[in-house]
Each structure stands twice: as structure tokens, then as C-alpha cells.
Symmetry: C2
Subunit: 166 residues, 2 copies
Amino acid sequence: MTRDYPGAEASSVDVVGHSELHSQNADGALAAALEALRGMGERITSPRVAVLRVLAAEHAHLTAEQVGGALPDVHRATVFRTLDKLAALGLVSASRMDEGTGYHLAVVAARHDHLHARCQQCGRVEALPREAFREARDHVADETAFRVNLRASVLVGICAACAASR
Amino acid sequence: MTRDYPGAEASSVDVVGHSELHSQNADGALAAALEALRGMGERITSPRVAVLRVLAAEHAHLTAEQVGGALPDVHRATVFRTLDKLAALGLVSASRMDEGTGYHLAVVAARHDHLHARCQQCGRVEALPREAFREARDHVADETAFRVNLRASVLVGICAACAASR
DNA sequence: ATGAGTGCAAAGTGTTTGCAACTAT
DNA sequence: ATAGTTGCAAACACTTTGCACTCAT
């Protein structure tokens, strides 16, 4: 489940302190995403490549505006349509954040098996180990019958950097 | 900390299966909120009373649109301004949900010491016991230095009703 | 060649703001 | 009386849509 696409050689990572790692694998992830796109019979167009490249380069969740801002030559409407499509195809995962909908490459997300956490102060989204919350989730499921979906949830808090600077 | 305002007589509640309970205390909570408003030297106006009444009646998080929809005689701009103000005063708590910003009475939130969970299917927000997640939060804080703020977080999952109906 | 995908412009949403009238204090 | 609030309308930012054209297949 972890190595099911090319360019996944550096798989065993700790979930936090990840940011550097992604630039290393960015093109691998990009290639993988394009491969997947092609495999699904979808067309490889320059806007799609561009959007995927942006998402592959940044680990953080990016809003449509941020993606569009990084790609001045791609029309905004196309950015929205492309992100929607990629999300529908399952290639990127979308989650609602304070600033709008945030997108990032699903392969990256799946590989990390993480949980999203957004810093209330700086707004950055980072990844937390999901296992830590599994027990709590199961406990809650037993007690209340509500089944928490950790993958889809976004926790909120204060990141290490912001905690340090105050 | 739990009984610090009038109308809080039914305090010891399990956090789930709460919906009925709120209608009982709705006017108590409303009175408390108005009392607090007054105490802060704020003016008691009919839009404010109306908005608070709506929030006191419904336990679920309501969006500005829902509140406004319930109050056709209050101008939308006023609904937004009122909710903003009440949130700034700390009388209502605001959290970003899929459908926009959700608001509910802070006194209710504080009393319940809960954690928000939104059903991916029906969209309803319910409360989960917060304690279940404390350990996980502390564990994550030790390991990653990210301090999860459970009060501000909104988990996502499938509620009991939706899980049953499929 | 041909239909999916794109760019553009225009229309929707949901939210905010300037200002005159109003009203709780 | 008077400062804080409201209603209105207009502005806003973000997202979606209709349509003609382009380009990957």
C-alpha cells in the first residue's frame, strides 16, 4: 500500500519534520501522478502538469488561489476545474481549511498515513502521526457510535515554530 | 466552571445524545447570554436577541446563512456583524466548517467540554467527549511539538444515524 | 478528426463596507 | 443627547458556468 507507485523509494519517514523530503521526491511524485492520470485515460495538458507540479513541490495544503497565483499563465477557472477534476479522480485530496479548500497530492498523503493539523497562528498545515489518535477514535466509536475519519479530519492547534516564538 | 451562569441546572450530561436537552435550557442559555452581554456594557437590541435565541435553540453549529434564514426580518449584513461581534466578545464560538463558518453559543460549548465532530454525510455537527483525545494530544505534543487544540478542532466522520442507514 | 480541455467573460455565491437613519442607553 | 446599531445598497472576493476555440489523442 505504501510503495505502489514509482518514485516512492524513500518510504519510511517520520511524519513530522517532513518538509525537506518532499522536494527530493517532488518530481517522482509528479511523474507518478502523471502516470496515474495517463493510466486513467485522462489527457495530459500543460495546465494539469503545471498544477500537479505545484502540488508536488509543496507539501503544505494549497488553496486554489495559491496554486493559481503560482501559475499566472493558467486561467483561474482552469485551476478550479483542474483541481476539482484531480480531486474527483482521487489524485489530489481536498480538505476544507480556514482559507478555503486546500489541496495536496493524494499519493503523498497516502504514503504518509498522516493526520492534518493546521496552525491557528501561521496557518500552515502539517502532518501528525495518525496512530496516536487511533485508540481515541476507537474509544469514541464504542462509546458514541460516531466513527471519526482521521484521514479526513483537520486538527487545529499551535505548531512548534509558533509556540516557540511567543 | 460548569455552573457559572443561570439556567445551568442540568449540567451532568453525557455529551452525545444531547439534542433534546438543549431545548430545555435554551431560554436559560439565552438569558445567560443576554446577562453577559449587558454585563459587558453592550446594547441589547432585537437583532442580537433574535440571533442569540436562534443559537440558544439549536445546539448544532449554524452558519450565518442558517441564522439569517431563520430570521428573515434581520438584514443579512446585521447577522454577519452580530455574529462577528458576539464571537469577538466570546459569547459565541466560531469554527470553520465545510459550509462556511459555524457558530454556537460559547456557554453551551464550555459547559459541555466537548469536541466537535461533523458528519461527512449529513453535515450535522455533534459533540464527542473530549477526554478520549487528551492522551493522544499529549502524546503528539511530546513527539512533534505540535499542540493540538481540541476545543478548536473539528473532527470529521460518520454519525451513528448515517452509519446505520447504509 | 474529434471530443475533452481551455480561455474568456459573465453570472453566481457568500461576506464586507460606507453611509444615513434609528434607538438603547 | 449621543454613540453604538441597523438597514440598505453597493462593493468584494472567491468560485462556477456557457460558449467558442484549441489541442491531445
